[in-house]
C-alpha cells in the first residue's frame, strides 16, 4: 500500500470521469444536431449542439481537476505544428500549381478551390498575428 495519499480531486478516476462528462456533452450535442437535421428541426438541433459544446467548455473550465496536463499540451502543440506544416505545403504548392494548370487550359478550377486557398491564406494571416503577439509577450 502506498504511503502517499491522494485527494479525490487529483485521482485519475476523477479526471477520467470529468473528461467523459465533457466529451459526452459534446457527443450528445452532435447527436442532437443530426437528429434535428433528420426530423427537420434544424434550429433546435443547432441550439442543442451549441448547448452541448458550451457544456463541454464549462466542464473543462470549472471541473475540480485539471483535465489536461503538460504532456497533453505538448501533444496539441506538436499536432498543431504538423497541421500548419501540411497546410503550408498545400498552400505553397497548391495555389500556384492550380493556377498554372487552369491557365494552361488543362483543368477548370471549381470555385471551391479558390475558397479553400483563401481560407488557408486567412489561416496563415491569423497564425502570423498570433506569432507576432506571442513574440512580444515571451
Amino acid at each position: 500500500m502506498s504511503e502517499h495519499t491522494t485527494s479525490a480531486t487529483t485521482r485519475p478516476s476523477t479526471r477520467k470521469r470529468y473528461k467523459r462528462i465533457a466529451y459526452g456533452l459534446l457527443g450528445a450535442g452532435i447527436l442532437a444536431l443530426w437528429v434535428g437535421i433528420a426530423v427537420d428541426r434544424f434550429v433546435l438541433g443547432v441550439a442543442l449542439y451549441w448547448t452541448g459544446g458550451l457544456g463541454m467548455g464549462l466542464v473543462q473550465r470549472f471541473s475540480p481537476v485539471e483535465l489536461y496536463d503538460e504532456r497533453d499540451t505538448t501533444i496539441e502543440r506538436e499536432a498543431g505544428h504538423y497541421t500548419m506544416k501540411l497546410f503550408a505545403y498545400v498552400f505553397i504548392f497548391g495555389t500556384p500549381g492550380g493556377l498554372v494548370l487552369e491557365e494552361s487550359g488543362l483543368v477548370t478550377l471549381p470555385g471551391e478551390f479558390y475558397g479553400a486557398m483563401w481560407t488557408l491564406f486567412a489561416v496563415f494571416v491569423a497564425y502570423g498575428a498570433f506569432v507576432i503577439y506571442h513574440k512580444y509577450r515571451l
Binding site: M1, H4, P12, R15, D69, E70, R71
Partner: protein, 64 residues
C-alpha cells in the same frame, strides 16, 4: 531523458497512477517519462524531485 523513476517508485511502493496523482499529471505522462519518450517541464521535474525528496539531477541524467 534517462531517469530512475521506476526504481524510486519501487522503493516507495507506488504505482504510476499513485505518482501521477501526487504530482498532478496523468498516468500516461509518468509512463512516457519513464520510457524516455517525454521530457518533463521544469515545473514537473521540481515536483518529482520534491516528491522523492531529492534533487532533479538525482532523478534525471541528461548525459546518457
Amino acid at each position: 531523458m534517462r531517469n530512475d523513476i521506476p526504481d524510486r517508485r519501487d522503493e516507495t511502493d507506488e504505482s504510476q497512477a499513485d505518482l501521477a496523482a501526487a504530482v498532478e499529471v496523468t498516468r500516461q505522462t509518468i509512463n512516457a517519462i519513464e520510457r524516455e519518450r517525454y521530457d518533463p517541464s521544469l515545473e514537473l521535474a521540481f515536483a518529482l524531485a520534491d516528491h522523492f525528496d531529492c534533487r532533479i539531477e538525482d532523478i534525471f541524467d541528461p548525459d546518457e
